[in-house]
Amino acid sequence: MSAPVLVCRGLTKRFPGVVALDGVDFCARGGEVHALMGENGAGKSTLIKALTGVHPRDAGEASVDGRPVHPRSPREAEAAGISTVYQEVNLIPDLSIAENICLGRQRTRLGFIRWGEARTRARAALARLGLELDVDRTLSECSIAVQQLVAIARATDIDARVLILDEPTSSLDAGEVAQLFTVVRRLRDQGLAIVFVSHFLDQVYALADRITVLRNGRLVGEFPVAELPRLQLVAHMMGRSVDEVEALRHRDRPAAAPGEPLLSTHGLARRHAVLPLDLELRRGEVLGLRGLLGSGRTEVARLLFGLDRADAGETRLEGRPVVFHSPAEAMRAGLGLTPEDRKTQAILPNLTVRENLIVALQARRGLWKQIPRAEQDRLVADFTRALGIKTSGPEQLIRNLSGGNQRRVILAGSLATEPRLLILDEPTRGIDVGAQADIERLLAKLRDQGLAIVFICADTAELSRNSQRIAVLRDHAKVAELTGTEVNEQAVMRAIAREAAA
């Protein structure tokens, strides 16, 4: 076994109302790739942020090469030898590769940057990764994969001992992933301790030497990859034994009572987003969409809702072909969508709860038919009660509400348009357990009222609990559709593990 480089003991981080990390031990060794696994909310990001100084820890110890570290900012973490490359490349697109690698660390002479030296240094940093690139190229001209590699070159240009890769592959294709892995293996062989976070099981098994699993902010365990079968890993991540999962089958899930088809797609596709897709959505049924990050689940939602245009295939609504050129057209046809990203896609932060709630309905009624104030107030009162929205009043600014309550307002806004088909993209993400249960109950109620619902959710347990059918996506294509008795966590796990092995 190689020498431990980064050692953490009892790391704890609390946020108001949640313990995001609860006494977690973690150890990354030199010359090893260590995968950090867990479902959403397990504490992976918090652990990384605690290590990189974004969220200073509340308790616990960390050391690099035996020296205690307590970073209060990413800069301090870098100085201590911990470098990080994030999911979204956070470099400056309009600068050259050399500038991006050397930015903030330039050698100067009389206050002027020594560009010749910067270029040499950038070339050297890339050479360490076995790369030869034109360092004068503007970063934005490079592919995302190359940008990712430049980010790694920047991260390892200083004397890094630990390199954290936070979902580096989510926007790369297979060839680019292979290129990235070559670079990562090279760095590993140079003795770096590499922490690899990814939702892609096959990538973890291809690259990692060791896996640490987190769940609900706690450490589940550390396992050598060879001793941890995929199914066992997924079971660990979900907190169930494989047998237990078997026993869970069908519990909580009412018998499927398939209604008549409402909307169907036939070979619907969009370049780089969705491969030809057949889906059938029926009244009174929840169709779960499960796929790993970047598998195309949000892209499917965007296609259905007219946010993106398909380049092939067709959509039929009650048997008649339809094309939605905009969300407005989709909404007129009776579709509703609550977007995945609450902050950037869903809320109007500086407008009131009332305005956020009625804006979708108003958009559907059109510019000239203003909803009378009395009706607005009634809608707000009704939905506030029905969905248990906690607010000091309809005129409170929505940004002052908690995340869960904001999600409820957005959901209420969608429901106010009385849709026949509702697409919910991660409706329970980032909200507490109680609110989650409320939203699940509401989902069942709407389904029983005859709505067709598309439920996108990364939590397999939650998805199995609430869906009558589950479509599993991978690499932008549907690889499995589970119906009837197949709708359970284990089958979903199998579908994901099977496809991962392919």
Binding site: M331, T344, L348, E355, V359, A360, Q362, R364, L367, I371
Partner: protein, 349 residues
């Protein structure tokens, strides 16, 4: 004096009604400026009636300020969507030029031509911003730069004079003893307020300005709305251009509306609408325009040369902007009492 009996109670009442509203600061600034003039500028508050018409500095403020007030109405909606339109000054010049050119044909043709060309100018801006998605400041700078040239082409580089009584009345006539321009401004204000608050336009504009992506997700027609606000700004600029040409009974392509777009943008910002878009204050913009005009008239009345008058003007505007800065207000509030700011009531139009 009777003027005092009217003005001060009215201002006090306005301030009291708006004590919790975003209009407080521009109103307070206006009140303080008027108070300063009442105390130190002789003759500022003297009003007299001649030939059934009211004369005096205060009337001049309203009359002269009408152009910026008209511009500010349109500019408010543009800024609320997160855009800006510095081309309105040039649009004024084009509208004035077209009216003067067509003055001899007939009055309706002259007025319709001037307003029509202004609507076209607005539609041009709207097209660039909404259909071609060019950044608003760049899209409108094109017309700002080219507009005066267009106006020169319309007038063949000449200053065209006109004498038609109806056209002269527009900028110089009086209605019920007050300048006709005041009626025009009030009419446009009521019309705009109805348009934004009695239809969903106001909500849509604020939604787009607050978070355009989210607004699109709700299915509201973001691009048509953006197009519409630029057309509306063009229309307002057209009206202001007709007034400006009428004021001097001629079309002077080089000077009509020069730099007024900056005053209009300032009026909107001083009035409490953020340049980042979202919530807008239509009445605030009018108060902002009045504040800027009062300031200009004050400096003129106190014989501050036009060439240096920009300095005190800038200082007053800076003061109002600082008073509205959330950072500064949080600091001031912190000095007074350590409790957090109460949840703000919804603002009014």
């Amino acid at each position: 004096m009777i003027v005092d009996l009217l003005i001060w109670p009215a201002l006090a009442a306005l301030l009291w009604v708006n004590r919790r509203r975003p209009l407080l600061w521009p109103l307070l600034a206006l009140a303080l400026l008027l108070l300063f003039n009442r105390l130190f500028t002789p003759g500022f508050f003297i009003l007299e009636i001649r030939d059934g018409r009211l004369y005096g500095t205060l009337v001049d403020v309203l009359n002269q300020g009408s152009k910026v007030m008209l511009l500010a109405l349109g500019m408010t909606l543009v800024i609320a969507t997160g855009g800006v339109d510095p081309s309105v000054g040039a649009t004024m010049a084009i509208a004035g030029a077209v009216m003067a050119r067509l003055a001899g044909v007939s009055i309706p043709v002259a007025l319709g031509g001037g307003l029509g060309v202004a609507l076209l100018a607005g539609a041009w801006n709207g097209l660039l911003v909404s259909a071609f998605r060019i950044q608003p400041i760049i899209a409108t700078l094109i017309l700002m730069v080219a507009g005066r040239g267009v106006a020169q082409l319309v007038t063949d580089g000449q200053i065209i004079n006109f004498e038609q009584p109806a056209l002269v009345y527009l900028g110089n006539g009086s209605l019920l003893g007050l300048p006709f321009t005041l009626a025009l401004v009030l009419g446009m204000f009521v019309l705009t307020a109805l348009l934004v608050r009695r239809t969903a336009l106001g909500l849509f504009i604020e939604a787009i300005g607050d978070n355009e992506t989210a607004a699109r997700f709700t299915g509201l027609p973001a691009r048509p709305v953006k197009f519409l606000v630029y057309v509306f700004a063009g229309f307002c600029a057209g009206l202001a251009g007709l007034v400006a040409a009428s004021n001097i009974k001629s079309a002077d392509a080089n000077h009509i509306g020069l730099y007024l777009e900056l005053d209009a943008i300032l009026a909107v910002v001083v009035g409490g609408t953020a340049l980042t878009g979202g919530r807008f204050q239509l009445a605030g913009s009018l108060i902002g325009a009045l504040l800027i005009q009062t300031l200009g008239t004050t400096l003129y009345a106190r014989n501050v040369g036009a060439d240096v008058a920009t300095v005190p003007k800038a200082m007053v505007i800076l003061a109002v902007c600082l008073l509205q800065s959330p950072v500064l207000r949080a600091k001031l509030a912190g000095l007074r009492r350590p409790t957090p700011v109460a949840i703000r009531k919804e603002g009014s139009a």
